[in-house]
Amino acid sequence: MLRINIKERENWQRKAADFGFKFHTMYGETYWDETAYYQFSLQQIEQDLEDPTVEIHQMCLEVVDKVVQSEQLLEKFQIPADFWQLIADSWKHKQPSLYSRLDFAYHGKGPAKLYENNADTPTSLYESGFWQWLWLEEQVNAAKLPKQSDQFNSLQEKLVHRLAAIAKHYGIEHMHFACCQDTEEDRGTVQYLQDCAKESGLLNDFVFIEDIGLSDCGSFSDLKDNRIETLFKLYPWEFMQREEFGQAIQDAGVNWIEPIWKSVLSNKALMPMLWKMFPNHPNLLAAYFEDELTKARETKLVKKPIFSREGANISIIEQGKTVVQGDGPYGEEGFIYQDFYPLPQFGNNHTLIGSWLVNDQAAGISMREDSSLITQDSSRFLPHICI
């Protein structure tokens, strides 16, 4: 695993505009960074990232199976009781999932360690599935990279395929897609999924989360009063369950993507639960619920809110003292504690690997760098190759 400098493609910004990739620079700071790339060996990719990704996903599904059957655990996962039955039913009916992203700390050798599972609303999908793919294609064509350069990235192909499979499962030909207003990044991610849906032969419509309506017959509607039958929502289940329309979910008859059983996975309580069920698994870090912290033997721990996004509210605790304090709006639902395991450093950059799953298949990786140990929304995205 190497970090190698390379010349940027000329005019890539204009090309980005052509393709509607609008968030490559955000708030005046670089987000898409092609001044360097990461290089992996095939063995690193397959043995250290691809295989563990598939295995961990299966372990996560075992956690879901256990949690949905236990009121005590559902409570620990801070899932409102009104949704327990719905979640159990959704799991029992095997409602199909689309995608997830596992975040790993990996040093190029030894086991990759799982930080968390973004199973409900992962982003950076477009830049992973399409934009870095295009970067490789063009750099190889321009002879800036060796001909045999490959990339661990079958995301787009798998997404197209999976969306068609989900449509077949529900017997539908149309999907709605939604995200919140005022965020170009989320809108871009959802537009990408709409493009994939189009590619798989599906009709699609977009609606902002805030514009979703509730009709007199109990169904959700878009701004044109069309009934929402199937909805991909880039909006967390834990928010929806606590909002006004949450109570209408049960009767709205929507095919949800992601399905509601994913509430169990996109939840940091997953981490201590995995550690309990698969103790000392080489890809897991020791993790504890707040009430079992006395069991922890580790001297340095990371404290994470049960629900959080983009590194907010994450603290690092050493010998019982908080040494790094991250602020943010999260934490009211409690915290979990995870063994401190640093990200690898390349120069001043701390590098996190996102490993994608489409349903249960490993589908590629994305590289993010941050100047801080905690990967935040200020991080940059870099392409990778494997040789």
Partner: protein, 218 residues
């Protein structure tokens, strides 16, 4: 397309030479956006670019007479289809709580009040109807069409289906459309309320300055 190739690949080293870990081909042109597209306009792409083999020729008429002029020997079908489209318009067309909302989308004096079992509301007048297979012994397909005269609306001077699909410039009367365009649209009688999702975002976005992005992906 086979989905499990990656597995075969990683286990089968003899094929490593040609095996690839990345998407084999991406239709790059289909990923181009050119100009920023309004969400509504996506309907065009979906209908006109998907499933090329599955299209049929359709025509839009503004009245039964308009239809009869083009198809003199089918006057009866023209009239019947018009009436059916009118009924369909009432069932599936866009509905608004107030005349003002409706007119801001469709233009002044372009809306009428409707009363039925689920209440009273305002709808745009049907501006035309789309017909295909008029001469087919198996029967014709029809859909109501709307258009907007409001300069504030993306529907302005476009043919719009009951579900908001944009069928293009309203001067265009003949088009090739996906067969799906003629499928009956699901009915929502009336949207009672909006804005029941998204409040957590407003609450959490107001926090601190380091949350630069409004997004809720992870």
């Amino acid at each position: 397309m086979p989905t499990d190739l990656s597995k075969t690949r990683s286990k089968n080293t003899s094929s490593e030479q040609t095996a690839s870990k990345r998407s084999r081909s991406i239709n790059i042109d289909s990923m181009r956006k050119g100009f920023s597209v309004k969400p509504l306009a996506l309907g065009i792409t979906a209908i006109f670019l998907s499933s090329c083999g599955d299209k049929e020729k359709a025509e839009v008429f503004t009245s039964p007479e308009d239809c009869t002029n083009a198809n003199p020997e089918y006057a009866q079908q023209c009239k019947l289809a018009y009436e059916e489209a009118l009924a369909e318009a009432q069932r599936t067309g866009p509905k608004y709580n107030s005349q003002r909302d409706c007119e801001s989308e469709f233009g002044n004096n372009q809306c009428h009040a409707v009363n039925n079992s689920s209440g009273s509301f305002f709808m745009p007048f049907m501006a035309g109807y789309m017909l295909s297979n008029l001469m087919s012994p198996r029967g014709y397909n029809y859909q109501p069409m709307f258009t907007s005269y409001s300069r504030y609306s993306p529907y302005r001077n476009r043919w719009i289906g009951a579900d908001g699909y944009d069928f293009g410039d309203y001067r265009r009367r003949s088009m090739h459309v996906s067969k799906d365009s003629f499928k009956p649209k699901p009915t929502v009688n009336k949207t009672m309320k909006r804005g029941g999702f998204g409040s957590s975002v407003r609450a959490k976005s107001s926090w601190g300055s380091s949350s630069k992005k409004g997004g809720w992906g992870g």
